[in-house]
């Protein structure tokens, strides 16, 4: 699979390929799915209206939930931090408009589980009044990188490609790791989604500003910006913007063949550099950091304008939506309001999906708010997302293995997941599965393979946790046993010492003892004698 493809003979939508001198690599597998980008990529991004009520989840990132900073009933301003990070891997949350904080309570959120999570509810006052913002760090290049990272952390920037990992952490690989390459992910390989496309078309210069900041923090020798070749306008726009900067010497806009999932972090790194992120490792292990274009724009907002991350571009699309488009929406806006703003449903939606059709999850509560990571709300019609129908038996045809970008054997993992053979399934590298859905997409038996892998992973995590708990209990028990043993030994030792002390005292030996015995005997004899005398005396009496 070491074969390189030149873009002139690119696969996929070859007609639109844009030549590039750079050598590209292939990743194994992948699927061609109709990209459906044209539904929503024609119109410029517009601002979504200010909702009456904002529902801002305190957990919008990987890591610890943010700790609330405001009291209920308090007035908050736009951009005010309402919850602070709780630990290193965490991110703050800001109010995305001004208003009264009416509650901090569990509310349904956009999560695959469909469960509720703690949210700050803000009744907006319509003034949209800004809080006092920190100074823009225009001359960041002269500043200590720690200060700049601190600013990014303050702004609550997280990965906006979907994983929502705190960006400041990712931009701090440590002094022992030299990062050579910064990969910027503009691939946007999921069908339907066009928010990154629109961002690159409309705000290319801003994205590049953010890239420049990240470059400064990492000190890399090259920046590669990968964009799938089904977005020629975005490529054009980014190239034009790049030419205006001082970055072309070390930065390249690289069109890549359209093939899902080329926007997966590991896949994109492979395509652009030919290198594989080691299993259970991170890109930094091979000197690479990967950031999404949306994240770059958010970094530029934070550093150059002092603005926290309180809104994002989100694609509302799918054939069930009356007017598919991209909206600049405040974090915390209920999904239903955005759909209503797009004219509501044209026909009843078979499914409302948060994210793309390949990896997104069904949104069970239309009033769940969008978060920093929500890139798409997808309303699919019955024709677009038909009922899968009954699942048939696996015929081991191997199409899944051919499509798997992680080069796994999905059908084998499926057998072991079904058999709950959690050890064997790890032999087949379950945890290298990125859940991209290629296998299930090509399965002729309509087996929901990804669901089986998620199940197996969850079971293994649960088992690990059980084991950890059991290990802890065992360790505690063991510690207790050792302690009791030690105490017992100490007690024994003490007794022995006392005894030894006793034994040691009559050092004058047996003679002393004999003397004592002799004395006692004398005392007893004397007593007897005395008694005899008194008896005699009484007998003498009449």
């Amino acid at each position: 699979m070491e074969r390189a493809v030149s873009l002139d003979s690119s696969l996929g939508t070859g007609a639109r390929s844009i030549p590039s001198g750079r050598r590209l690599w292939r990743f194994h597998g992948g699927v061609h799915v109709p990209d459906e980008k044209s539904l929503s990529n024609a119109e410029p991004v517009t601002s979504a209206p200010l909702p009456k009520r904002l529902i801002i989840p305190l957990q919008q990132h990987i890591g610890a939930q943010a700790r609330p900073l405001v009291r209920i009933g308090e007035r908050v301003l736009k951009g005010q931090m309402i919850a602070e990070p709780n630990g290193y891997i965490s991110a703050p949350v800001h109010a995305s408009s001004s208003g009264i904080l009416v509650a901090i309570e569990p509310h349904p959120v956009a999560h695959a589980s469909g469960l509720s999570a703690l949210c700050a509810l803000i009744e907006t006052d319509g003034e949209d009044a800004w809080a006092e913002l920190p100074e823009p760090l225009v001359h960041y290049a002269q500043l200590d990188p720690t200060l700049v990272r601190e600013r990014i952390r303050w702004a609550g920037v997280v990965g906006m490609g979907g994983a929502s990992f705190p960006t400041s952490v990712k931009l701090n690989p440590g002094t022992d790791r030299q990062i050579q390459t910064l990969v910027i992910n503009g691939a946007e390989c999921e069908p339907y989604i066009t928010c990154d496309d629109r961002l690159m078309r409309e705000r290319a210069a801003h994205v590049l500003e953010g890239v420049r900041v990240m470059d400064h923090l990492l000190g890399v020798s090259q920046v590669l910006i990968g964009i799938e070749d089904n977005k020629p306008e975005a490529i054009e726009s980014m190239r034009d913007a790049l030419a205006e900067t001082d970055m072309p010497g070390y930065t390249e806009i690289v069109p890549i063949p359209t093939l899902y999932p080329s926007g997966g972090e590991k896949q994109l790194i492979r395509i652009l550099t030919g290198r594989e992120v080691p299993s259970s490792g991170i890109p930094a292990h091979i000197g690479i950091v990967c950031q999404n274009v949306g994240t770059a724009a958010a970094v530029a907002d934070a550093v150059l304008e002092g603005r926290p991350l309180i809104s994002r571009i989100i694609t509302l699309t799918g054939r069930a939506i009356a007017a598919p488009q991209n909206l600049d929406a405040r974090v915390g806006t209920p999904a239903g309001e955005l759909i209503a703003h797009c004219g509501g449903y044209r026909e009843s939606a078979r499914r409302l999906i948060c994210g793309g059709p390949m990896m997104g999850f069904e949104l069970r509560h239309p009033q769940a708010p969008i978060t920093k990571a929500t890139n798409c709300l997808l309303a699919l019609t019955r024709a677009e997302s038909p009922d899968p129908g009954p699942t048939l038996a696996c015929i081991r045809c191997g199409r899944c293995a051919e499509a798997c970008p992680a080069k796994l054997l999905p059908q084998q993992m499926y057998w072991y997941a079904r058999a709950k053979d959690l050890d064997r399934i790890q032999d087949y590298h379950l945890f290298d599965c990125i859940e991209c859905g290629c296998c299930a997409q090509v399965c002729p038996s309509r087996i929901p393979l990804v669901q089986y892998y998620r199940y197996a992973k969850t079971e293994i995590w649960a088992r690990e946790q059980e084991r950890r708990k059991a290990d802890q209990a065992r360790a505690r028990h063991e510690a207790k046993r050792v302690r009791l043993e030690r105490q017992e030994q100490e007690r024994q030792a003490r007794l022995r010492r006392q005894k030894a002390a006793l034994d040691a005292k009559p050092a004058d030996g047996k003679a002393g003892k004999q003397a004592l015995i002799e004395a006692a005997r004398r005392r007893a004899a004397a007593k007897k004698a005395a008694a005899g005398r008194s008896g005699a005396q009484s007998a003498d009496r009449p």
């Binding site: 030919g274 594989e276 499914r351 390949m358 990896m359 038996a393 045809c397 992680a406 084998q412 299930a440």
Partner: protein, 348 residues
């Protein structure tokens, strides 16, 4: 939206089992037509009988298991088994042997192991071997190819032969039957003939058996169609044919008087049919690419060994079954290197 939570992906799946099976059936058409051309109506009658028996057997088992028979029949896998079986057996096979074969294939080999997807052995080949071992005479009585037969059987005559076992009046078996080329070669070699002498037989064609070479050619066409439609990949067919060619080539180089040209092996018997349609049965074959190469090459080598030194003239069925047994083990030892697990351009 009250449906159960469905996991991603959410789009319509692109492949379907029944469509795959239908493609296989379609790809068999040219070969079946060619075979009918050379061997008469018997083949088509056998296909019809086998298909009926297979579907009835499948439906019966599904009903006995308390499931809807339509889903099982709808995947068309029983039909593929039936057609492959009918192609493999002589076109004169008595109907009750076809019934026996289909019951064996569908009930014992397929359904008793759990049905579609769970059977370790190729049902059509298992049934073929079962009948070959149990009824060797009936299973090796082949008609002479049309070009050589003194009398071609009409449709009604074929039907009578299959259903009642009676030849048309005035004909005896010698008039309608002939040894298959592989059979002929085997017998003559055992009698001490050299390949040069055997080749003079009218049963030999340009490079394979007369008639057979063309049938193999049409099956090859169907196989290429399957490759083109990506129903199968090249690994198993190419490995199997190469395995056979290399073994046969080495033997021919060493002793051309006792071994025919390698192409004869390719275009006689069931080599081509087996390579593209039988060994590629996904359920019973290897699934890893490296495994498929070993699996295919193993079949090719075993076919040659049995043809050259074994007790049966052709060996595709035996070879496939033998490698079926080995498939899970081969799969286990040929796992591909997963992404990020060394090799390739790695961390320096």
């Amino acid at each position: 939206m009250k449906s159960a939570i469905v996991s991603s992906p959410h789009l319509a799946p692109v492949n379907r089992v029944d469509r795959i099976m239908l493609q296989v059936l379609l790809a068999l058409v040219p070969g079946v037509l060619a075979m009918t051309w050379y061997f008469g109506w018997g083949l088509l009658i056998n296909i019809a009988l086998a298909a009926t028996f297979a579907v009835l057997a499948e439906a019966g088992v599904m009903l006995a298991r308390g499931r809807s028979p339509f889903a099982a029949i709808g995947d068309l896998s029983a039909l593929v088994t039936a057609v492959l079986f009918a192609i493999s057996v002589p076109p004169t096979l008595p109907w009750w042997l076809t019934l026996l074969g289909m019951l064996f294939a569908i009930v014992l080999v397929k359904q008793l192991y759990g049905g579609m997807g769970y059977n370790p052995f190729n049902p059509a080949m298992a049934a073929y071997v079962f009948l070959l071992v149990s009824y060797p005479v009936a299973m090796t009585t082949w008609l002479a190819p049309g070009v050589l037969a003194e009398h071609g059987l009409s449709f009604m005559e074929s039907l009578g032969l299959i259903l009642q076992g009676t030849l048309p009046p005035g004909l005896d078996w010698d008039a309608v039957t002939a040894a298959t080329p592989l059979d002929e070669m085997r017998g003559k070699l055992d009698e001490g003939w050299s390949i040069e002498e055997i080749r003079q037989s009218p049963l030999w064609g340009q490079f394979g058996g007369r008639g057979w070479e063309w049938i193999a050619g049409w099956f090859l066409l169907g196989g290429l169609y399957l490759l083109w439609r990506r129903i199968i990949t090249w690994h198993i067919p190419v490995a199997m044919l190469l395995g056979l060619l290399i073994c046969a080539g080495v033997a021919w180089t060493l002793d051309p008087s006792r071994h025919p040209l390698p192409t004869f092996h390719l275009f006689s018997g069931a080599a081509i049919l087996g390579a593209f349609f039988i060994a590629t049965d996904p359920v019973t074959a290897c699934t890893t690419k490296k495994g498929q190469l070993i699996f295919g090459a193993g079949i090719g080598a075993i076919v040659f060994v049995i043809r050259a030194w074994g007790g049966y003239p052709d060996a595709v069925a035996f070879a496939v079954l033998l490698m079926n047994i080995a498939a899970p083990t081969i799969d286990y030892y040929t796992q591909p290197r997963a992404f990020g697990h060394g090799g390739g351009r790695q961390a320096r």
